[in-house]
Symmetry: C2
Subunit: 105 residues, 2 copies
């Protein structure tokens, strides 16, 4: 039998992203996409540190519209990953700016 080694950090991340998406996408009967309600539930639970500081009540509506590239009123997994990627890039830029305050990056 082939030995199954423990997953790497990157493999764990990929598994987690799929699991989190499935957790929220599966709240209604269709687990391939996030509906607006599921998106709000995801944002207010998983990214509450971001949403609770938003004073503008329309920000999540606008985010959903911007992320919904094919305008079907739902977010598929690729559209969801674009959200995660956008946040990750913003965090990474802040990290680099904090690490190299003199450099323009």
């Amino acid at each position: 039998m082939a030995k199954i080694s423990s997953p790497t950090e990157t493999e764990r991340c990929i598994e987690s992203l799929i699991a989190v998406f499935q957790k929220y996408a599966g709240k209604d009967n269709y687990n391939c996409t996030l509906s607006k309600t599921e998106f709000l539930s995801f944002m207010n639970t998983e990214l509450a540190a971001f949403t609770k500081n938003q004073k503008d009540p329309g920000v999540l509506d606008r985010m959903m519209k911007k992320l919904d590239l094919n305008c079907d009123g739902q977010l598929d997994f690729q559209e969801f990953l674009n959200l995660i990627g956008g946040i990750a890039v913003a965090c990474h830029d802040s990290f680099l700016k904090a690490a190299h305050p003199q450099k323009r990056i």
Copy 2:
């Protein structure tokens, strides 16, 4: 003092992706991008389950070229995330096909 709650699964993923990128991007003196050598090191360590099954020795070369959207011979964090996103979408599609073998998705 404000209470710092433990990170959510999504926040942990974002932190991990930045940490993994920084780990490999920081192997030379420039930690903003993955050089070709750093990309190969990342692929052969973090995604070894994928690379060890590749019989074509040129596959990583071609992946690097395809991911390097601005053709500077380096992968920045966004280009790195496109790789992770591509793998995650492929895994998610397999998951949905296995869960719903009759449906076309």
